[in-house]
Amino acid sequence: MSDSYDDDEYMEEEEEDLFEDEVMSDDDAAMDNEEGDYPVIPDKDKPKSYDVESKSLSVDDVQKDMRSQVEYVVSVFGLEPDTARMLLRDYGWNRERMTEQYMEDPSKVLIKAGIEPDATSPRSPIRSTSSQPPKESSFSFRRSTRKNPVPDPVTESKFMCPICCDDEPPSTLALACNHRFCSDCWSQYLEGKVRDEGECVVRCMKDGCSLLVPDSFIKEHSSAKTYDRFEELVLRHYVSHIAHLKFCPAPGCTDTVSCTAAATKSALDTVVPSVSCAHGHKFCFGCSIDADHRPVLCKVAKLWVKKCQDDSETANWIKTNTKECSKCQSTIEKNGGCNHMTCKKCKHEFCWVCMGPWSDHGTQWYSCNRYDDKAAIEARDAQSKSRISLERYLHYYNRWANHEQSAKLSAELYVKTEKKMEEMQLTTDLTWIEVQFAKKAVEEVLRCRATLKWTYAMAYYLDKSNEKELFEDNQRDLEKAVEDLSELLESPIEAETIPELRANMTNKTVYVQKRNEIMLEDTAQGFREGRWTWNVDLP
């Protein structure tokens, strides 16, 4: 989006909240109705059938959501909230699978997750500040079979922390497994794991011990900053494991979007989940190719982008710099010399200008006046056939790239239009509100260009059929409408024609908007009905 447009304004445009939308459109309608003569540009932000349903959640909302999952497990099994949260984490927040397996064999599930089975009863992990050597734990899932090279605290009269070798640590801590270390080492370890490594699954410091450090232990023995980071990591873990949740990818944005319609992989075969967060950042829920690649499906968009990355430059170069041998169709670059070509591969001799066989040129060496000769025409025909697929691709690519380029220039267009709007206010008695039609037109043009861009990717992969023809009719109508409106936006402003321009532009904006809707509506419906057939195998 353009930098020159401030975010708040944009946010309003993208607002998903129905209620506010109603209020806004009422306002708009009231303003426009005062004029009477001009058509109203309908509010385009009302949910359409091709929009997927989604909800933006704040950090607090997600936390609440996560907590309710934990509370459910707590209430069903009477577990400690900490334990429940750790178990759910171990199961990738798959509550159903977790509860099912827990019901079968609770201690097996707990041990697998690295939780002391006894710790499930309301009791905090063993903690002691005495420097007395602890008893060796009977903790059953210690896997350490390595020879313990550190003097075992049991055999020594005095405790020495095996990490820092301090033999008089002010305080020591151990989890339920009784692997005792000094408190300083513990907090250093927790800081390192959470802050540097970004881990929300932290195990006992002892090598080979798989006991999980309980959340409460982390809270108690690390700095507030570290614990905040830990909570953030748990939240991230939650969001990344819940299929219908996704973080807004915009830098600095903390919103999460929930979209159940696009939660499964198969759902992406029929919907294009363009969503936006409460701060108005648009993104695709299914992929990261483009913020809004409607009407085309994620996987088709992906296919197309990959093809363009691989092929477009090469194809363009081949098209401009080479011809094919009229006999064997090898691609030939002519990098110097005369027009008398000899194909390296099949030794066919031909003329570079007319592509006809060289023998027909007789004694007229190095010049060609036989361009219309039958043999030459045939040779060129054969060549053109071999280029059809290349041309076909470039046809779609160039149009796609053209709209992409236009989108990149959108910031400029906004600035230019803003200047025009100021000019109109100066030269006529139109108010600021009344000149908004120009801005609306720009927005609509950009929106439709984004749609158009992706229709070319779609058309490239659509199988030849009546359906495709209808698709291309819609595409053509939209393209035409957009170009008309674009032209109008570029036209110079003369004071006396402004009222006419305004009516004209408003009309065209409404029309373009309608064409865009028809385009999106029809393709979305086509996906639902399985109407589109492709000329490639979709992955």
């Binding site: 692997h179 250093q188 370890y189 002892k206 080979g208």
Partner: protein, 148 residues
């Protein structure tokens, strides 16, 4: 900067009570940098060879693992041509309770039991998987050539 007590203790013990077939001596001017020698374990294609390694204890040690690298050329699926070692305890399975001694013992064990399913040197690993005997022959040859 003063050397942490932990490193002093470990060094003392490494010198006073070395593990069989392993020696680790710190540099005089940098006590965090060790010259390591590991004898090829008997029964392995590395038997009879002596391998030089370098070991460095980073600032964060023991919260971060030591950095270890082979200096002697070795034909082993988990050690690449730069001498870097693919060993879990040197990466994500590191625990601050592990020590220089345990790390070196693990490396010695890795020489006895190459793991071509988790390769670092892919060509060597492929060789080991396709024709273990021939791969071991090459390992033996390299041991003769570089580790004597």
């Amino acid at each position: 900067m003063a050397l942490p007590k932990r490193i002093i203790k470990e060094t003392e013990r490494l010198i006073a009570d070395p593990a069989p077939g392993i020696s680790a001596v710190p540099h005089e001017d940098n006590l965090r940098y060790f010259d390591v020698k590991i004898d090829g374990p008997s029964g392995s294609p590395f038997e009879g060879g002596q391998f030089s390694l370098e070991l460095f204890l980073p600032e964060e040690y023991p919260m971060s693992p030591p950095k270890v690298r082979f200096l002697t050329k070795i034909y082993h699926p988990n050690i690449d041509k730069l001498g870097r070692i693919c060993l879990d305890i040197l990466k994500d399975k590191w625990s601050p309770a592990l020590q220089i001694r345990t790390v070196l013992l693990s490396i010695q064990a890795l020489l006895s039991a190459p793991n071509p399913d988790d390769p670092l040197a892919t060509d060597v690993a492929k060789h080991y998987k396709q024709d273990e005997r021939d791969a071991q022959r090459v390992s033996k040859e390299w041991t003769e050539k570089y580790a004597k």
